[in-house]
Symmetry: C2
Subunit: 464 residues, 2 copies
Amino acid sequence: MNEETICAICTAPGMGAIAVIRISGPEAFSISDKIFKAASATKSISNAEDHTVLLGNIHQEERIIDEVVATIFRNPHSYTGEDIVEFSCHGSVYIQQKIIQILIKNGCRMAEPGEYSRRAFTNRKMDLSQAEAVADLIASTSASNHKLAMQQMRGGFSRELDKLRNDLLHFVTMIELELDFSEEEVEFANRKDLNELAEKLEKHLHKLTDSFRLGNALKNGIPVAIVGETNAGKSTLLNKLLNEDRAIVSAISGTTRDVIEDTVNINGLTFRFIDTAGLRQSTQDEIEKLGIERTYQKIEQAHIVLWVIDSTMVSEHIEWMAGKIIPRTKDKSLIIIFNKSDKISKDEQLVLDDLFKIYSKNRIHISAKKGENLDILRGKLLEIAGLPDLERQDIVVTNLRHYEALTLAHEAILRVQQGLHDNHSSEFLSQDIRECLHHLGQITGVITSDEVLQNIFKNFCIGK
Amino acid sequence: MNEETICAICTAPGMGAIAVIRISGPEAFSISDKIFKAASATKSISNAEDHTVLLGNIHQEERIIDEVVATIFRNPHSYTGEDIVEFSCHGSVYIQQKIIQILIKNGCRMAEPGEYSRRAFTNRKMDLSQAEAVADLIASTSASNHKLAMQQMRGGFSRELDKLRNDLLHFVTMIELELDFSEEEVEFANRKDLNELAEKLEKHLHKLTDSFRLGNALKNGIPVAIVGETNAGKSTLLNKLLNEDRAIVSAISGTTRDVIEDTVNINGLTFRFIDTAGLRQSTQDEIEKLGIERTYQKIEQAHIVLWVIDSTMVSEHIEWMAGKIIPRTKDKSLIIIFNKSDKISKDEQLVLDDLFKIYSKNRIHISAKKGENLDILRGKLLEIAGLPDLERQDIVVTNLRHYEALTLAHEAILRVQQGLHDNHSSEFLSQDIRECLHHLGQITGVITSDEVLQNIFKNFCIGK
């Protein structure tokens, strides 16, 4: 249990009808009682029942600062597992700051970012991956990343891992017992059972690490590169997708002006569109060459590539372009977009379809300028992005830290399997199992270091 | 009691650790129970005790939207006097909007601005002036306007008025009884007692209307005009006052670029500094003349005038300037500021003091550029602003609507006094007393119209 009592404004910054200030720690009740007088004279926070609210005034000496509602959570039945008081006050910025000031004067300390959640973790109210999910949940801006965070916060992901880890722990104990009797060649750990467990774990870890590509995309937006010749209408298309959706989450300028990224929410799924520099054959200009290199990199990072072609002017470079784009999108989804379709006839469209039929089954005729067929494009994006996976309640890893730990755990368990196959000694087996246990333990926080915790919680917002 | 159940996000807009959603109305419990499942299976919002909190999940069909804390306030023990549920959820913008969406789907209506407070008024949880003070309290940005709003919210202002109004009501009933017996010349209302009451009321109303000048200044910032010749350093001074305090509340550009207003918080008191166009003698330019006209207007509106003079270059126009400024500041506080004092000697400063000794007892030598003696200036401003009045717990009127009603009530009571003095008939007296009662009743809302209420509450924030 922590010694210090902390306080922070928990609601969004600025003026609102109400604001909430949270106090947590051993002195939460006694400090609160110093500054709070209940409307009913016989009541106080210290003697209030758990999970009840009291109406009263916060005062500084004789001066009343605000009429507030105090909610009392008694340790361990609180978010942090400590005594907690939440003051719901009038949402004036002045009042919020004043109450924090008075709390600090009376012995509280300002909470650091994520400190409430860190205490919740320390007091075993949640494991580390759950605490991390709280931050993701608060930052969630779409149905899909909300769902992933919620799933993780509810332990859907760490519970199964913990179970497997415990099973594995049992085996390593047995194996290490064998070491004590190494001259007697006993086998406490059943190798067949261990092999089965290792297989099960390997499969599970493989599935989880595999899910990260999707999870990361869902969390940060599915990367979609928009490529094509200059003037094919790439930027017009991007702007249309952004403006029509009126759901721009952020706009990040690339390192140079020729790569622009923007995220858009389509039916609860976030896409990160990446506009790239126009591709051109035989560029002498060194600077342009750099731009084209960058375009290739962006294709590399994308899950989906939109190749925008000017329908009215299928250039002589098209074969060259195809040669550059197609090989780079072999393991991705490529959508060929014939833009400016309003300027050509239906027959001409069919000719284009025919011309490109070997390249992709995804071909769409649109007019970015007039907004024609953009709904079909959106539908295709959703179809390709594979939201169905998510609906089947599969567990999806979204956190880079977890992914790295899972990958290392996976490598270790593969070595365990190999060791079992090669009849390695208990000593070697035990080492690899220990390593696997270590990495698994880091995810839920069974094994952790202050540095890791600091890194995790510093990215939380204040008040959580 | 209202038929509709309303909901709104009550905390400041945007992402925070937590957000609060408030539901009020006859269906608050039943709607909440449809979307909320308590962690403890036997509990529900409908059967929860008053002033308690429940942990649970908000769900949409099978999907969990968030883990929340629900606070239950049973009618009439709530802010609005109706049944209220407050959901404290994770402060993701997505979650906030989603919960509101689900509530509306289940029969809630979005609350209009101020609708909770309006219901509190309708259900007699507070009178109208108290409800208005809630909005002022939320908007308060400094110790002084916070204090005024708090005083008003706690009824310090309306309670006394209500008492006097009731006394007056007693008299008018008596007087109107006399009308029924008009042919018999009876006097049910003791004229001497009525006269005493009228005198008391007149005094009280006079004091209140008088306090509005201060109240308005404290609420909106005490207006301080900065005048002087071009290049005397007016803008430098303004910027210094603003930047050094790092407490700029707002920056409003005037209708033209030559009047700039900015508010600054000095020791809990808000000052509204008004930079004006430089005054110059014999301006032919029509546009400049307009600017100077506007400067005069700003002096008119100010409570305090700072006349900034360039110490290094007391111009030949100084007499002309004095002739323009001094007569316009007779009923105001004038501070003469010798700027650029770092560039002249102490002796030269004394010469300047001597030169201006007839104009003002407030003279300060400063260097705006170097920030010298600005503390003395701030001290003078605080001294002049008269915060002591506030400390004596005097009641101060800050609301224009109240001021207007008080002024009309005051005029009516003066007519009552005159009528008593001139021995007017009961009929005439009754008319004037009724008018006074009407205006007093409008302040606390005993007498009101839907239009007035609409006007008052539309300026509230949503969620209050």
